[in-house]
Amino acid sequence: MAQNKLNIKAEAKNLNFFYADGTKALKDVSLPVYENKITALIGPSGCGKSTFLRCFNRMHDLYPGNRYEGQILLHPDNTNVLAKGVDPIEVRMRISMVFQKPNPFPKSIYENVAYGLRVRGERSKSAVDDKVEEALKGASLWNEVKDRLQDLAFNLSGGQQQRLCIARALATDPEIMLFDEPTSALDPIATVNIEELMSGLKNKLSILIVTHNMQQAARISDYTAYMYLGEMIEFDATDKIFTNPGRKETEDYITGKFG
């Protein structure tokens, strides 16, 4: 891999994370997120991969008592996302997230996608119209819903709802998109759709994805990080991790001897 041509979009440096009850969920985790690449986080349940992902957009701030130590730098301006003076809302405006279970809002398809623009105060109808169409096309959903944009989002199938959530996240032009096991609640066909979608999206932005499905990581990601018990065990190009891992623990996990 020609690593010298890669730009780092974001970078976790010696990140520790503590839940309100004092549990230390992340131990000194460091990881680069390369621009226009997909980075997958794998590891057994409870290894801290979702906790780590949710640090990037400060989701842990929603629950009192959680505490971060260390840095997540956002390039090119070198902002430490976790710094006290940084407003989590500003962070979430740049880093969007797609969740495990599709979570559309109780609104129309159109209003779901327009949500991010609305909370940012966008008032121009034509600007919102354009963005909604662009985002739905970006999420390969436009052709299926263009005639029923005013329908309630709950009327869509599970896979369509998840693509709607991706469109919603796309509509505000994020720099990084976080995916937290985005296909674990979907059937195989919907899963393939989402995977193809993610592979296409990396041309526009950088992607960090948590997955419990190693085949998925191997199929779509450029880089893979293996985590275990809150620690980053190994990070490398996906080919390398899956064919010739550097650490014994990683090999045991990907060959199914463990986990």
Binding site: L62, N103, F105, P106, Y115, R118, V119, F154, C165, R168
Partner: protein, 310 residues
């Protein structure tokens, strides 16, 4: 007993129906069914009595007069039987009460569910619910002896018996009902929906107004319906503080009688059973029943329309 003994009986016997167990199950089922049916039968009984007694009333008084006359004086020499004054009194006091209880109750619910810390919520909610336990007769005198004199300082022309004072007090009384039920509905909205909103960069307030409230609409409507039923059916507060003079008016600054206040007035008097005056309370009761029934139907329809589907 050893395990070998358990295995002793032949298979056919071990798999045979256990008559004793089935019998007990059946008895339990019947007891449970009676508990469920009791409430239904009581409701049917109430409707039956209302209809039979009221039909005696309507043999003497035409329905046309009952529904159109603007005078209600069944106990006077010159008797008139127009229900409109009682309806206007009921609707006016309810309107005053709800225009206080619905906004404040909703805002309180949003605060408790979305903004208050766990500690605040756990200390505020019991106090709010304590308000529910206060006997309504206390609220009635509170309206008559405290709120109305206070209002008279602002507007000296306000009569001692008026609909505004008891309406306001009734509103305060209903706030906890609406706040509590609406808060439960909002808290039932799954956290992942809120997270979706926060992840889009929304603030707490935006999330509460744009996502949580619409997601909880059906429960919030249920809270409002409960509040309306409480307001329409409330008796003591209005009987004490609104005066018991049936007047056809929608002006809250005047005194009036509500349907419930009239019923309590007659029921506590010494009218003979079977007299027209006595039967008039059943006719009035039937109107009350119809009003609450209509609101419940509307509420049910609204709840179905907005049923949660997350």
């Amino acid at each position: 007993m050893t395990t070998t003994q358990l295995k002793d009986p032949p298979i056919s016997k071990r798999l045979a129906k256990n008559i004793k167990r089935n019998f007990i199950e059946r008895v339990i089922e019947i007891i449970l069914m009676f508990a469920a049916l009791a409430a239904t039968f009581i409701t049917i009984g109430i409707v039956y009595i209302l209809v039979t007694e009221a039909s005696g009333f309507f043999k003497e008084v035409s329905i046309i007069e009952f529904l159109t006359s603007r005078q209600w004086s069944p106990l006077f020499e010159d008797a008139h039987y127009g229900i409109l004054p009682l309806i206007s009194g009921t609707l006016t006091t309810s309107f005053v009460a709800l225009s206080i209880a619905i906004p404040i109750g909703t805002v309180a619910a949003i605060y408790l569910s979305e903004f208050a810390s766990h500690k605040t919520r756990e200390s505020v909610k019991p106090v709010l619910e304590l308000l529910v336990g206060v006997p309504t007769v206390v609220f009635g005198y509170f309206a008559l002896l405290f709120v109305t004199p206070l209002l008279q300082k602002i507007n000296p022309d306000l009569p001692t018996f008026n609909m505004l004072g008891p309406g306001i007090v009734m509103g305060v009384m209903i706030i906890p009902y609406i706040a509590s039920v609406a808060e439960d509905a909002m808290r039932a909205v799954p956290m992942n929906m809120r997270e979706g909103s926060y992840a889009m960069g929304a603030t707490k307030f935006q999330t509460a107004i744009r996502v949580v409230t619409p997601a909880a609409t059906s429960g919030i409507i249920a809270a409002y319906i409960l509040g309306i039923s409480r307001a329409v059916g409330e008796t003591m507060v209005v009987a004490i503080a609104a005066g018991q003079q049936p007047t056809f008016t929608f002006n809250p600054l005047e005194g009036a009688a509500t349907i419930t206040a009239y019923i309590v007035q007659v029921a506590m008097g010494d009218l003979p059973h079977g007299s027209l005056g006595y039967q008039s309370i059943f006719a009035a009761g039937m109107v009350l029943f119809v009003i609450t029934f209509v609101f419940n139907i509307l509420g049910h329809m609204a709840r179905k329309r907005f049923a949660e589907r997350y």
